[in-house]
């Protein structure tokens, strides 16, 4: 393949990884990263080559499976949304201490402005925390090229490499010219237990060695073509533009007419030699970066009088929260343009809602009826389509924090005396991180009532298979829930009265109950 093709940023990453000779992709779905795995799953060449491309139970299992593939000498790609890296963090950070054998690239798709997320954490901090290189593309073409370079870099320095993208790149299509594909690595398992057995004695040695190599790793990373100094004629201000910030900057100065010196960055750790070039060419700095003021905080430090005035998100030149936009970057450069007509006041918001006929709406109907008898009771929910049950007309849930937190928060609240403490979780979220929480409840016979909303799919992210499919009853029974209190109901209006009765019965029982509300997502049925 060498002709121009339209790729989403996610697809450019996926095609780049396939062409770089990966043997496996490991991932759990999460906006805006989902389409990376989906692209590989749909690619005939991946099927022909036998590239691993099944969803994992969660991001931690995905990360560890990929590390195992790397141990065996082959290249692996791991993909997740930003909060997924919290789940995978233990494996990710320790993988910097073991290092890798086959190339290992971890993609974290950040979601500044929280279009589909609970927070806007910036994954570049994880790269710094773990002491691994991070690359951040500015375009779909750069994303494609960077993935291959990141695999090469990973194998050269024998470390995992983090690729950080943000929503606007992940979910935007552009024309990309691919490079010729190359072969996968042969099987070649590591035979160095000192690298892989992180006993304190080994880990201390590996960590010291990693830190000692940081200057070399920084210099190698700095040489990539995505780091460029572009001289300018006006030294009043120098601009540091990381990742897609570079595009918004160019948007303000079409045809390369920016008079200010620019440092375009796509690689971390930051090279102080590179920064010195910019510093020498200007009298003040503007930092443009999507996400947190990650670079800015490193440059400003805590001294009240830094070497030169630095503007960015910390001093209010750009907003402290939310994504960069063409508008806020233009305003920071003093080049705001007039907007079109204002939105007329009659325009009301149109928030997302459960699909008409969604099984979750029938589940919330019987749950709400039962809970109206228990004003002191609480419903701890989780993340998925069913989180929309927080909005009218349902207003049926009281919390949603992180994947799996429904069961565990219900247990904690029940420990504190909340009755009834109800947990509501989707089937995929249960597989992701609900099982261990349920085990906690079983171990203490907590009177937690767990409703598993089994729509037989991962609905929120567009219908990926759920690893709990067909296994929910046996998982619950297997970890010790009394089979008499594993109830299966069908969330349909015609079963409403029966479902109300069953939930009431279970609330009356002072132990762990699991009520599985099973009916397929209607979008899935439509897909056929």
């Amino acid at each position: 393949m060498d002709t121009k093709t339209l790729f989403l940023g996610d697809e450019a990453v996926a095609q780049g990884a396939m062409d770089a000779g990966i043997s496996g992709v490991y991932a759990y779905p999460g906006t805006p990263s989902t389409e990376i795995m989906e692209y590989v799953q749909a690619a005939p060449e991946a099927g022909a080559r036998g590239v691993h491309r099944q969803w994992s139970a969660n991001e931690k299992t995905a990360m560890e499976e990929a590390l195992g593939m790397s141990y065996a000498g082959k290249r692996a790609l791991v993909c997740m949304k930003h909060v997924g890296l919290n789940v995978a963090a233990d494996a990710f950070i320790n993988s910097a201490i073991t290092g890798v054998n086959g190339g290992l690239v971890v993609v974290a798709a950040d979601d500044p402005s929280m279009h589909s997320s609970q927070n806007e954490q910036d994954s570049r901090f994880y790269g710094k925390f773990a002491a691994v290189p991070v690359c951040e593309p500015c375009s779909q073409q750069e994303a494609y090229d960077m993935v291959r370079a990141a695999f090469d870099f990973s194998e050269k320095i024998r470390l995992p490499v983090l690729l950080r993208i943000t929503t606007r790149l992940a979910h935007s299509r552009a024309d990309v010219v691919p490079a010729p594909a190359r072969a996968e690595n042969p099987l070649n398992p590591s035979s160095d237990p000192r690298q892989w057995v992180l006993l304190p004695a080994h880990a201390r040695r590996n960590w010291a060695a990693l830190l000692a190599r940081m200057p070399e790793i920084t210099a190698l990373g700095d040489a990539f073509p995505w780091n460029r100094f572009i001289p300018g004629t006006n030294r009043q201000m120098g601009i540091l533009a990381a990742g897609i910030a570079f595009n918004y900057l160019n948007e303000c100065f079409p045809g390369g007419t920016c008079p200010f010196p620019i440092l375009k960055l796509g690689q971390y750790p930051l090279s102080s030699a590179r920064l010195a070039t910019l510093q020498a060419a200007c009298d003040s700095l503007l930092i443009l970066e999507d996400g947190a003021p990650f670079i800015e905080e490193q440059l400003v430090g805590l001294f009240p009088n830094p070497v030169m005035p630095i503007r960015g998100r910390l001093d209010g030149t750009l907003p402290r929260t939310g994504e960069l936009t063409p508008e806020n970057v233009a305003a920071a450069l003093g080049r705001a343009r007039p907007e079109g007509p204002a939105v007329p006041p009659l325009v009301t918001p149109r928030p997302p809602a459960l699909c008409r006929g969604c099984p979750h709406s029938d589940t919330y109907a019987f749950l709400k009826e039962v809970m109206s008898d228990f004003p002191a009771g609480r419903v701890f929910s989780d993340i998925g389509c069913y989180t929309l049950g927080a909005l009218p007309p349902y207003e049926a849930i009281h919390s949603c924090v992180d994947m799996g937190a429904s069961i565990t928060m219900a247990k904690g609240a029940s420990d504190a005396g909340v009755r009834p403490a109800i947990a509501v979780i989707g089937d995929s979220t249960f597989a992701h991180s609900g099982i261990t929480g349920l085990l906690d409840a079983v171990a203490e016979s907590s009177p937690v009532k767990l409703l598993i909303l089994d729509n037989e799919i991962t609905g929120m992210t567009g219908g990926q298979e759920s690893l709990a499919f067909g296994r929910l009853e046996s998982i619950a029974a297997g970890i010790g829930v009394d089979p008499a209190h594993i109830r299966v109901v069908t969330p349909l209006a015609k079963h409403h009265a029966e479902n109300v009765r069953i939930l009431r019965e279970e609330i009356a029982w002072p132990g762990v109950s699991v009520i599985i509300a099973r009916r397929a997502c209607i979008q899935m049925r439509r897909k056929g």
Partner: protein, 196 residues
């Protein structure tokens, strides 16, 4: 050449397929393209939009800057108004479906919405649902919209038609023919408005 547009609608109304048809046509013409889409939570019946930028030189931002859009194409009248700040007031067109999608309570007064749209210097409001239905292709509403908008979009109609053919060819000749018919009817509806 540089053409920026916003494609608006409600999750599930097929705005991504309009964007993808335009993208396919632009790519076949060897133009540059950036097309930013909304995936994820908002697709569940919420307000969604796509930014589409076509140019004969490399494009920088994935997002259309506010005040720069030459076109707001909307599958739904209320949604056409939501993105007005993106419109280039001097030259921009708003082409929108008049058929409302009632999934919010209360839905604002439809006559007031239409009045707001008609107040714009360059707007075309028509019932694309009815047009598609009358041509026996009730699912091709987005083709009626694309047709009506295409009059103002600087891509040859033939390039769009061949993109439609390749997009629907898997579904058989009748589907291709009915989509083309609706597209042409849409284009015909605005033909007289074209400045030249």
């Amino acid at each position: 050449m540089k053409y920026d547009m916003i494609i608006a609608g409600v999750g599930g109304q097929g705005i991504l397929s309009i964007a993808s048809l335009l993208g396919r046509a632009a790519l076949n013409l060897n133009l540059h393209l950036k097309q930013s889409e909304v995936h994820g939570m908002a697709q569940r019946g919420g307000a969604v939009l796509a930014h589409l930028r076509i140019a004969d030189q490399p494009i920088h931002s994935d997002l259309v800057p506010r005040g720069a859009a030459a076109m707001i194409l909307s599958m739904e009248p209320l949604e056409a108004l939501r993105y007005l700040p993106w419109l280039d007031t001097a030259t921009g067109w708003v082409v929108t479906n008049a058929e409302p999608l009632h999934n919010i309570e209360p839905y604002p007064n439809l006559d007031a919405i239409a009045a707001e749209i008609r107040r714009l210097p360059q707007a075309f409001l028509f019932n694309a649902d009815k047009m598609a239905r009358d041509l026996g292709a009730p699912r091709a509403v987005n083709m009626a919209m694309l047709g009506a908008a295409s009059t103002f979009i600087p891509l040859p109609s033939a390039a769009l038609e061949s993109a439609i053919v390749s997009q629907f060819s898997r579904k058989g000749e009748t589907v291709v023919a009915s989509n083309l018919a609706v597209f042409r009817a849409g284009r015909q509806a605005t033909a007289a408005l074209h400045p030249g």
